[in-house]
Symmetry: C2
Subunit: 193 residues, 2 copies
């Protein structure tokens, strides 16, 4: 069973690389086997249909993008503040930038979700769960506002990552400076520039 | 020549629908002919290679997303202010939401640009020109800051549109309320909440 789980994870990781490299239409069981170096038929053994494959990839994306427990424990131990939230956002941006293929794969599956209701269903479940986690962290940090403010950050960070991982409109601006400006502007109660 | 231009535009529009429906990998000359209802070979007559086709689609995207001259003239006639800029942003969001296929096609090509340098080159040229236009409007409105602030709006609006056109984390929040909050937070010199 443990061995099966490892293989399943390897296949999912191969699927994420296929998605990043070829886009959603390139995602087939055969392409996953090719990328993973497994015999043809292996991927469809683990993921019985394309929907099952997509579901497995969405699960794997959120698993890979989950905060490092050590970083998170360190953040959770600090006194809640604006600066703490800024570090939380910075950690998210750093992780998603480092996990380039995973983040690109996530964008691919979001577009795929716009086309296919079965994908939309899986994506929505994971996105909402992740969003609820962010809102909980935000509220626990005692920051003013709630879900609405966290959603603003989601939008801005998604757009920032899309810019940084694809073609950038302002490649010379530091990503940290952007994050600082977003926290300064979008977190209620800050100083005005 | 005028007739050729019309046909070229029809083929490009068909290509945008293919992109929105099937993603970047589904974009072939044959698929464009199928969508446009033109004889096989027509699309490749107008766009000699896949690169030429992609270039034609990027051109057409920016043509379609160009502000309505009447709306823009009305905005340009008003006294520059924060409220004017808010209306400018609101006009962008309204147009890109209404042009759903075009906006989805733009996201598809941005991801394609992350994979293929030839696409990245075309995309970068159009994105930078469009960005420069936004910065010029912003500066002409006498607002504090410049390119950096406009880039923040680009990120946030891209993420907002991606949310609204695919799976949404907070579908019950009004898009106008989000735009207002972004202008309030990201435009320097506003009141604090």
């Amino acid at each position: 069973m443990a061995r099966n789980e490892t293989r399943r994870r390897e296949l999912a990781d191969a699927g994420l690389r296929v998605l990043a490299r070829d886009g959603a239409r390139g995602l087939t069981h055969r392409a996953v086997d090719g990328e993973a170096g497994t015999p043809v038929g292996t991927a469809s053994n683990y993921f019985r249909s394309r929907d099952a494959l997509v579901r497995g990839l969405v699960e794997r994306i959120y698993e890979r993008l989950t905060p490092d427990p050590e970083v998170h424990a360190e953040l959770a131990a600090r006194t809640p503040s604006r600066a703490l939230f800024a570090d939380y956002v910075r950690d998210i941006v750093t992780r998603l930038t480092a996990e380039r293929d995973t983040t690109i794969a996530l964008f691919e599956l979001r577009l795929e979700a716009a086309r296919r209701p079965e994908v939309a269903e899986v994506m929505t479940a994971f996105q909402r769960e992740s969003f609820a986690g962010d809102v909980a962290f935000y509220l626990a940090a005692g920051l003013p506002g709630g879900a609405f403010e966290v959603a603003l950050f989601h939008y801005a960070i998604d757009g920032l990552l899309l810019d940084r991982l694809t073609t950038s409109i302002d490649p010379d601006t530091s990503t940290d400076a952007v994050v600082d400006a977003l926290v300064e502007g979008l977190l209620p109660g800050g100083s005005t520039a």
